[in-house]
């Protein structure tokens, strides 16, 4: 029982990162109808900004978060302009290619500037361990969960209670109707992509201290994030977060109780299984047609 709870607790902190990226994917998909394959590389960009801030400039955590967030916003908006607005004849196939290309541009530029080295970052939340009864969690993992939760809560408040957030939701539910209501839908799309970039960038910052940072870290987190988003139905923001956390916990469980070598195989199979058997995920509504 003790191991079980420990596995769940550490699974939640990995899962929170997947949840953030999945949230970014679903937000962008609902807002503009595009699945961003560049999200993984935005995570990497966030991680490298964190490297520069924390390692080279010895900046504080709060200022690093602000710079990473700003970087994510700029990248997200740029990605929208290039990969979505830039296409002459949009189609899902071409969006796939264009977002992949933007992703590789980001990855390539990072490799160009930083080389293929592994960068280590000091723990951003201190290196301690918090004990709660018999259970313990490292401050690093606790920090990841807290920051992710705060960010998700802020996003929820923004979408539900602000005027701008309502406009974003209106645009997501029907572009034409929103446009007729005088909402500048293009700017809403830019906003959605910028928010997506912010979420991915902060995920990169949180990811940076656990294991080294290389130009490929984001690519490795993208697929579990996709699995999380698909489990959540790719429509629901809450579903993306829950799905991401579920993937994190499942990875730990399979790794511990069965075998680490089939850990990722099980997770990736879920992508196919869910899309084939239950394309609406756990949180999606049945009316959604997968086109």
């Amino acid at each position: 029982m003790y191991t079980f709870v420990q596995l769940v607790v550490s699974g939640i902190s990995t899962g929170a990162l997947y949840g953030l990226v999945a949230l970014s994917l679903v937000l962008v998909f609902r807002g503009t109808g595009v699945v961003s394959f560049a999200a993984g590389d935005m995570v990497t960009a966030g991680a490298f900004i964190a490297v520069v801030m924390l390692r080279n400039h010895h900046a504080s955590l709060s200022s690093s978060v602000l710079v990473v967030a700003a970087g994510g916003v700029i990248l997200g908006a740029l990605a929208y302009v290039i990969a979505v607005e830039g296409l002459r004849r949009p189609s899902p196939h071409l969006y796939l290619i264009s977002t992949l290309a933007v992703g590789y541009l980001i990855r390539g530029s990072l490799r160009l500037h930083f080389g293929g080295y592994v960068y280590d970052v000091r723990p951003i939340f201190g290196g301690g361990v918090v004990h709660a009864g018999a259970f313990s969690i490292s401050t690093q993992n606790l920090g990841i969960v807290v920051v992710s939760a705060v960010l998700m809560l802020l996003l929820f408040v923004f979408l539900e209670f602000s005027r701008l957030g309502t406009a974003v939701r209106a645009t997501s539910s029907s572009r034409t109707d929103a446009e007729l209501m005088g909402i500048p839908v293009r700017w809403m799309s830019v906003l959605v992509w910028a928010t997506g970039g912010l979420l991915a960038g902060v995920a990169g910052l949180l990811l940076a201290p656990s294991g080294g940072v290389t130009p490929d870290v984001g690519g490795n987190i993208l697929v579990p994030a996709f699995v999380g988003a698909v489990i959540g139905g790719f429509e629901s923001l809450l579903g993306a977060v829950v799905g991401g956390i579920a993937v994190g916990i499942l990875q730990n469980m399979v790794g511990y109780y069965i075998s680490t070598s089939i850990r990722d195989i099980v997770v990736f199979s879920l992508l196919i299984v869910f899309l084939a058997v239950r394309p609406t995920g756990i949180f999606g509504s049945q009316r959604v047609v997968r086109v």
Partner: protein
């Protein structure tokens, strides 16, 4: 969420039964391809020896791209798992030949068959979804392949892979030049079969599925069956290249058949214009050959190259279809003018 798009005008030209039959049994088709292959083989013979290695690989990469062209161009499906199918071909060959000392030619046949079966199996979940969701299903397949290959070292050699012996045919070892020639023959055969397939009733049924699934179903075409068929063909073409790539490179390991390779195949199909064979062949040379020639700028390579591909896709969403059809029209005019001249000369004689 996705704004409804206007119904696309049908791209299929309606052909009479006799016209279809005439095109299907047109002997010129085979002749043109055979002559083209012969010219290519002669040109390859003139190229310096050290370049044949890269050339052979690039020529082999045309096979998976052609397979993907059937899937993308004819049924409007999408796959980011083509690299995995090449890998399945290469690994099956390696395991059979090295571990179980199976005859190499038999092993090639086996790897194509196994890959085709796996392609058909993937098609069942894949034919239930389309667009981005289809991309995600195939993405899942690609990553499962990578994990299987790297996590079961007893079976696949793990991260160190398996080293592949050179192929011996009739007692003599195949040189890189022989591999290029084999690749040319394979590409020519697949090209011809592809053209035949596209003008057969199965090909027309597939195009009907691509253009309008409801209309195709109403005409009695089983959508599921044709999607499964397309995935199977695509996987078989991919795995045909696998053993030869493994022989050329000399080993198989998990890094060779990664996600990026699958993306490159897809990009080649889009740059080639999804519906032409020649354009896709040229695009394969651009996508796989050019990084080799850009080696002088290796660190810049990735940035420049992907930037370039992005620009091409953004500016020419139809890829090389446009330029090539212009060239065909231009050539056609030339041929017609020649014919007219000969005709009028014959008339003057009379």
């Amino acid at each position: 969420v996705i704004a409804p798009t206007a119904t696309k005008p049908a791209r299929t030209s309606v052909l009479s039964r006799s016209e279809v039959r005439r095109r299907y049994s047109d002997p010129r088709r085979m002749l043109v391809i055979a002559v083209g292959a012969a010219i290519a083989a002669v040109v390859v013979g003139l190229i310096p020896e050290y370049q044949t290695y890269t050339l052979g690989l690039v020529a082999l990469y045309i096979l998976p791209t052609f397979g993907l062209r059937v899937l993308v161009g004819m049924t409007g499906q999408l796959s980011i798992a083509q690299g995995a199918f090449v890998g399945i071909g290469a690994y099956t060959y390696g395991i059979l030949v090295v571990r179980h000392s199976v005859d190499p030619l038999l092993a090639i046949v086996c790897s194509v068959l196994i890959s085709a079966v796996l392609g058909a199996l993937l098609a069942f979940p894949a034919s239930r979804v389309s667009g981005f969701y289809l991309a995600l299903v195939t993405l899942g397949f690609q990553y499962i392949f990578e994990q299987v290959v790297s996590q079961f070292p007893d079976f696949t050699g793990g991260s160190s892979g398996i080293s592949i012996p050179p192929l011996k045919i009739f007692g003599s070892i195949m040189t890189p030049l022989n591999i290029v020639d084999t690749a040319i023959v394979l590409v020519a055969v697949v090209w011809w079969l592809g053209l035949q397939f596209a003008s057969s009733r199965y090909g027309h049924a597939m195009i009907a599925v691509r253009d309008n699934e409801n209309a195709a179903a109403a005409a009695g075409i089983s959508i599921r069956r044709y999607k499964v068929l397309a995935f199977t063909i695509s996987a078989a073409c991919a795995s045909l290249a696998g053993p030869f790539i493994a022989i050329t490179v000399g080993y198989v390991d998990p890094t060779q058949y990664a996600f990026l390779l699958s993306v490159q195949f897809l990009v080649a199909v889009f740059i080639g214009g999804t519906e032409g064979w020649l354009g896709i062949g040229i695009a394969t040379f651009v996508v796989f050959g050019m990084p080799h020639y850009l080696n002088g700028l290796s660190t810049y390579q990735e940035v420049i190259f992907n930037g370039l591909l992005l620009v091409i896709v953004l500016v020419y969403p139809r890829g090389l279809t446009g330029p090539i059809s212009y060239a065909q029209v231009w050539l056609g005019r030339g041929v017609n003018a020649l014919r007219r001249r000969r005709h009028s000369a014959a008339g003057a004689d009379r």
